[in-house]
Structures are given as structure tokens and as C-alpha cells.
């Protein structure tokens, strides 16, 4: 694969990552946000495959496979099961209105493009738009986490943030050491499990919402 083609493909995947991020931000219903984050993880896997072919770094194949199996299939399945069991498929109750979130998102995207323009030397031949896209994904994931109340959506935000870090790491440094990536994925699995168990337990023993935990603080 020629560097120019890899460059194009990474740019295209970056645009699709941002597109799925918009779908997550605009999703009014939980299952749509979950499908969107699953699609985003598939695109991360594709980016891993493209970079593995372009750089010949075989660790990236392992990471791409792990990402697709765990973040695009297993964890979304777990989250869909949790919301089916708990019975919340209604609209997300945002802390700030969704249209305002979209406006903030536009500002964040502009900011990340501006920021990465000043980091010109870090941009390597293969990365193209990967750095601003990665930064934007990271910040937008955090935005989802702070602006939504449901634990599932906060988890979706964490995944999106994760995907941003993965994308930046893959594109800028051509892959982190395998052991670190696996550790990060384990972290995500643990977070999802804790979220699932916590939600199911809280629901079954108290019949309360996660947001009500806020009232417990002193």
C-alpha cells in the first residue's frame, strides 16, 4: 500500500469516526447511541488494519481484531442487554439540551483543529487529519460523559473517548506497545462490567435510577 493511499484512507476513516460521533451526540434514544459507538469501534478496527498494512507492524492487526471483537460486538451487546433488563429505552435526559451540546461540539471540533495546527511538527507523513480528529473524539467523548445522566450513555462517552485515544496513538506513533493497548482494553471491559452490575444491582434492590445516587453525598 502506498503512503498516499494510506493517508487518504486514514483521512476517510477519520471523517467517518467524526460522523459516528455526531450520531452519538445527537442520539435521542439509548440504543441508537450504542449502535453508533459500535460502528465507531468498527471504523477504529478498519483504521488499525489500514495502518498495519501500511507500516507492516503486525501488533496493529491484533489490536484491530481485539477492538472489533470487544468494543464493537461484546460490550455493545452487554449494554443492550443491560438496558433491556433495566427497561430504559426512553429518551436520554441530558443535563444540557442536545441542541446546545451540538453547538458546543462544533466549538470543540474547531478548537481541536486549531490546536493541532500549532503542533505541526508532530503531524507525520502518514497521519494527515488523524491528530485533530483524535483530539476531537477524545474531547467529545468527555462532553457526552458530562452532559448525560444515564450510566449507559456515560459509558458510551467513555468508549468514544477511548476510541479517540486509540486512533491518535495508532496514527501518530504507529501503534503503542501491545501490552499497553491490551491493558487499556481490559480497563474498558472492567468499566463496562462495573457499570452493568451496578445498574442491575441498584435497579433490582432499590428500583432507583443512577442519578439518584447524587443525593447520597454529604
Amino acid at each position: 500500500m502506498t503512503p498516499a493511499l494510506a493517508h487518504h484512507l486514514i483521512d476517510d476513516v477519520g471523517a467517518m469516526l467524526l460522523f459516528t460521533m455526531i450520531l452519538i451526540l445527537g442520539a435521542g434514544q439509548l440504543y441508537r447511541a450504542i449502535y453508533a459507538v459500535a460502528a465507531q469501534s468498527v471504523f477504529i478496527g478498519i483504521a488499525g488494519g489500514v495502518l498495519a498494512t501500511a507500516t507492516g507492524n503486525s501488533d496493529l492487526w491484533v489490536i484491530a481484531g481485539l477492538t472489533i471483537v470487544i468494543k464493537a460486538v461484546a460490550l455493545p451487546w452487554l449494554m443492550l442487554r443491560v438496558i433491556a433488563r433495566v427497561g430504559i429505552r426512553r429518551e436520554i435526559e441530558p443535563v444540557i439540551p442536545i441542541s446546545l451540546t451540538l453547538a458546543i461540539a462544533a466549538a470543540i471540533i474547531l478548537l481541536s483543529f486549531y490546536l493541532s495546527a500549532s503542533l505541526g511538527t508532530v503531524r507525520q507523513a502518514i497521519t494527515g487529519n488523524a491528530l485533530p480528529v483524535g483530539i476531537a473524539l477524545m474531547l467529545l467523548g468527555v462532553l457526552v460523559m458530562v452532559s448525560r445522566r444515564k450510566a449507559v450513555t456515560q459509558m458510551v462517552g467513555l468508549f468514544a473517548s477511548e476510541n479517540g485515544i486509540f486512533f491518535t496513538a495508532m496514527a501518530v506513533s504507529q501503534g503503542m506497545p501491545l501490552i499497553i493497548e491490551i491493558g487499556v482494553i481490559l480497563d474498558v471491559i472492567l468499566g463496562a462490567l462495573v457499570m452493568g452490575i451496578l445498574m442491575l444491582r441498584v435497579r433490582s434492590s432499590l428500583d432507583e435510577d443512577i442519578a439518584d445516587l447524587e443525593q447520597l453525598k454529604g
Partner: protein
């Protein structure tokens, strides 16, 4: 350069679009009926409606001024002028050097905006409560839609280097990249809003709480209403042809040979039918959004178009 022949070509294009426009509405209605297990009216029903309206007399409110009477022909004229600018069958270079730079995407969009403004003024002038409400809602949607349309055009124009629609269609055949996918997504959202389709407006209802576009037509009658209804049909096909020209210009004829024109006509019909299927599917599977949810719906389009532009420029 002989100015007359291209002017005739533009007039022929306007006539073609104006004749085909009610048929597109009829096809969408028929598809919707089929999807909803109804028999539905014939596809030529919009023509019959227009003929009926043009034969009838006119009634107007006592408070209406001359502006009210002038609005229907002006709206139709602005929309038809916009129709002269979309490439439908052939590229601008096809006539062998005789190019006709009639106008560009910005002029086309501003003509549609002019039609929208005139329609709202006419609705306010009649003094009816529904007209005022419809006008206020339509202008609110206009504020949300028009900047996004401009962003979509700019994101495509930044790649091609011109806002002239014919040149955009001629030069973009190769490079369909991911930013275009983002722009295409927001164009599809805008298509629903601009043609008054279901997540935004309901074209089938006269229920006062839900209507946007119909509210502004309520006070008009007879040939005036016929003009406005025809303008609505033409606006729909213009927006469809506009999005086809900037995203899928494949099939536009490179020369004026009869075969090439025939192929281009076939391709255009296929693409329009494809968009009609999209409209019918969306209308049959989604519920109308509450009016105050529209900023969120169109905000996603704004963000996508904005991002497409950012990926192009930054």
C-alpha cells in the same frame, strides 16, 4: 458567443422541470400509499389538482392588499428562475464552447430564499391567524436550513474551486471522499426539510397545529393557489436536482448527441426515482418531530456540514 441559443436551452430546461415536477410529487405519494398498504391516488393526480385550481375563481380576504395578489406569480417566477440554473441533462461544456454562465449555487439558493420570503409576506398580508403562524414557523425553519445549505455548498465548492453548479458537476466525478459523505448526510436531512417532508412538516395535513407550509397557502385560492402549489412541486424537483448535481453528477451528457442526451435523461429519471424512494421510506417510517425538537434534528445536519468544511479546509 451566441446568446440566444443557450437562452433557449435554459428555457427548455425550465419547461422540462416544470412539466416533470408534479409527476415527482405524484410518484412519492403513490409510493407512500403502497408502503402503507393503501391504494392511493394515481401518479397524475397533482396535474388534475393543478388543472382544477387554474379553472376556479379567486376569493380573497377584505384586508388583503395588492401584495397578496402579486405574491403567487412572483413566487412561481423566482422558483422557475432557480430551475434554470441546475444542470439536468448535460454539462456546460457540452454545446461546444457556447457556455452559459447563468448563475451559481449561491444565486440559486438566494432565489429559493426570495421565494420563501415572498410566500411569508403574502401569508402575513392576508391577516389570517394561520397564515401568520405558518409564516413564523416557516421562517424559523428557514433560519435553520439556509446556513446549512450554504455550508454544504461551500464544503463541495472548496474541493472543486468554484460555486458554478455546472463546473462542480463536471469536475467532481472522481473525488468522492469521506467529507462528501458527511456533506451528503446533511444534504439528505435538508432535503427532507426543504421539500416539507415528515420529520419537519407534514405535506398531507391541514391540521392547524402541525402545518408549516400549508398554513401559508390557506388564504390563497384559485389560480393563485395553483401557482403556489406548482411552485412547491418545482422547488422540490429543483432541490433534488441540485443535490444530484453536487453529489452524483454521473450520467450527465458530455455532448449534445441524441444518444448521450437519451442516456442522461434515463439516468436523471433513475436518480430522481431513487430520491423519491428515500423520501417515501423516511415519511412512512418516522413520526413528525415536535416543532421545538427541529433545532436538534437540523443541528446534526449543521454539525456534519461544518465538519465536512473543516476537514476540507483545515
Amino acid at each position: 458567443m451566441d446568446g440566444l441559443a443557450p437562452l433557449g436551452v435554459a428555457a427548455a430546461r425550465v419547461a422540462l422541470l416544470a412539466l416533470a415536477a408534479p409527476l415527482v410529487t405524484g410518484i412519492v405519494q403513490k409510493m407512500k400509499a403502497t408502503l402503507q398498504s393503501r391504494q392511493g391516488a394515481s401518479v397524475v393526480q397533482p396535474y388534475r389538482d393543478l388543472r382544477k385550481l387554474l379553472r376556479k375563481g379567486t376569493v380573497q380576504s377584505d384586508t388583503a392588499s395588492a401584495i397578496f395578489r402579486a405574491v403567487p406569480p412572483l413566487v412561481l417566477a423566482a422558483t422557475l428562475t432557480a430551475a434554470a440554473m441546475v444542470p439536468v441533462l448535460f454539462l456546460p461544456g457540452a454545446a461546444g464552447g457556447a457556455r452559459l454562465p447563468l448563475g451559481d449555487a449561491i444565486l440559486l439558493l438566494s432565489l429559493l430564499a426570495l421565494a420563501r420570503f415572498l410566500l411569508a409576506v403574502g401569508a402575513l398580508d392576508a391577516g389570517g391567524a394561520f397564515g401568520g403562524m405558518g409564516a413564523s414557523r416557516e421562517m424559523t425553519v428557514g433560519v435553520l436550513v439556509e446556513p446549512v445549505l450554504m455550508l454544504v455548498v461551500f464544503s463541495v465548492a472548496a474541493a472543486v474551486g468554484t460555486t458554478e453548479l455546472g463546473d462542480i458537476a463536471a469536475r467532481r466525478s472522481l473525488a468522492f471522499r469521506a467529507p462528501d459523505l458527511l456533506a451528503l448526510f446533511s444534504m439528505m436531512l435538508l432535503l427532507l426539510a426543504e421539500t416539507g417532508r415528515i420529520p419537519v412538516d407534514n405535506p398531507d395535513t391541514h391540521l392547524e397545529l402541525t402545518m408549516l407550509h400549508e398554513g401559508m397557502l390557506l388564504e390563497h385560492s384559485g389560480p393563485g393557489l395553483g401557482c403556489l402549489v406548482l411552485a412547491t412541486h418545482v422547488k422540490q424537483i429543483v432541490i433534488m436536482a441540485f443535490s444530484l448535481a453536487i453529489f452524483f453528477p454521473e450520467g450527465l451528457a458530455q455532448s449534445l448527441a441524441p444518444q448521450a442526451i437519451a442516456i442522461a435523461a434515463g439516468a436523471f429519471c433513475l436518480k430522481i426515482v431513487g430520491l423519491s424512494i428515500f423520501l417515501a421510506l423516511v415519511e412512512s417510517s418516522y413520526a413528525k418531530l415536535r416543532f421545538f425538537r427541529l433545532p436538534q434534528f437540523l443541528g446534526m445536519g449543521l454539525l456534519c456540514a461544518f465538519m465536512a468544511l473543516a476537514l476540507r479546509l483545515l
